[in-house]
Symmetry: C2
Subunit: 249 residues, 2 copies
């Protein structure tokens, strides 16, 4: 029988590392999503099973807290497991290690949607609630649950970005990890040399598509920075929040 948790092996490709010589959050998040996908597919609740049934996992929250990051060509492992499953949400955790060295942890919360109606589906009805058997309540994820930045009146428009082909994922939506990359792209090379991102929380609120214009709003509060990303309706200029990040430095 399959174990509840899965361990997946990666290697930090040199040309995915940043100017500081390590994997940036966007890239680490991409490996984590890959581990999540592999873990779920191996246990028959991944995309391979869901797609033909017009179901899909949608990422709702993503938290990363890395005390260290892999260096070029360094092998590392991502352990991932389902922490809990409820009717409309499931939480999945991550532990990143390089051998004995713990590099950090991640948390994520997912909804399941019907891809035709885009409405939430009852996770516990899929395969008669078989997912419950994978819930691992023993493994520990010692980082705090997802937090939200409280945006106030000081939130300022920092940048507008027209999204492009390379920003989109396999569904034609802007890649959820790319929002994180674009949020950190609000800061120049000097800022990145002087600040190590200790933790990043992302809340995904709506989908945006390749070609959408995104407005990035920024607000600072002590050692935490909030980035609010809104897509702009071309005809009316109306804005809809698609992603909100809280960045701890």
């Amino acid at each position: 029988m399959q174990s509840k948790s899965g361990v997946f092996h990666f290697k930090a490709e040199a040309f995915r590392c940043n100017m500081l010589g390590y994997l940036p959050y966007q890239q680490m998040g991409t490996y984590m999503l890959d581990a999540a996908d592999l873990h779920a597919n191996e246990r028959n609740f991944g995309m391979t099973y869901l797609m033909p049934r017009h179901l899909a996992w949608v990422l709702s929250r993503f938290t990363l807290e890395m005390t260290d990051m892999p260096r070029p060509a360094q092998p590392f492992e991502i352990t991932t497991w389902v922490e809990n499953t409820m009717k409309f949400f499931t939480s999945r955790n991550f532990k990143v290690t390089a051998g004995d060295h713990v590099l950090g942890y991640g948390r994520s919360i997912w909804a399941m949607i019907d891809t035709a109606t885009r409405q939430p589906t009852n996770i516990l009805e899929v395969r008669n609630g078989e997912m419950m058997q994978w819930v691992d309540s023993e493994l520990e994820c010692p980082i705090a649950p997802p937090t939200k930045f409280r945006f106030g009146p000081d939130c300022r428009l920092e940048r507008s970005v027209e999204t492009r082909y390379s920003d989109a994922d396999i569904n034609g939506h802007i890649n959820s990890m790319r929002y994180i990359g674009m949020a950190l792209d609000l800061f120049g090379p000097d800022w990145h040399r002087e600040h190590y991102v200790r933790r990043l929380d992302a809340a995904y609120m709506a989908e945006s598509h390749c070609g959408d214009v995104l407005n990035f709003y920024l607000e600072e509060a002590g050692d935490t920075i909030g980035v609010r990303i809104a897509k702009v309706e071309p005809a009316t200029g109306d804005e809809t929040d698609v992603c909100r990040c809280s960045i701890l430095v």
Copy 2:
């Protein structure tokens, strides 16, 4: 003894695939650079050996011709070998396979520079010309040598991009594969649905840094598109070509 060529195993991570459901050229190129780096390091002429000696490989030309691309979670292999080495240039080829299925080929030409002076170094003087022993003249790379697009007066400015943190590589230069990504980002989702890029040639002419503004010029000639990328000197507006691409669709 090490074999002349090296075979490296990868897997197309789902969240690196494009909206059409396969790895885009930028991502495939990144895996190829990784294979090149691993192959060179295993034979003591990679970054690990060169960096402490203030030497570095600099990519001069890169050609990719893919008849097919890996799909999400599909394992694939990159075979890479040195085709030839001369005083100031070495050529390295790539073959991409998924089991028995050949997906495509790549060619690359590299110079070696002194990282202090940024001047070319004699490759044959490194380790007494030991690199010559790795030249594999038996493996075949059946694609045409690198070609150049002939830019004419119809070349038009298509887009200006201020480069960001996530565009830079470990040296703080704009990632060579990111130029390819940005060149293909000149085209919208509809264009990508209607056109498969059969071949891409990139010539790297100068380095640009995170924060540089890049102008993208575009010209079409039949089924080939030329993209000329120039960095803009902020004080004077003078332009220097950093990369030229020829895209065959």
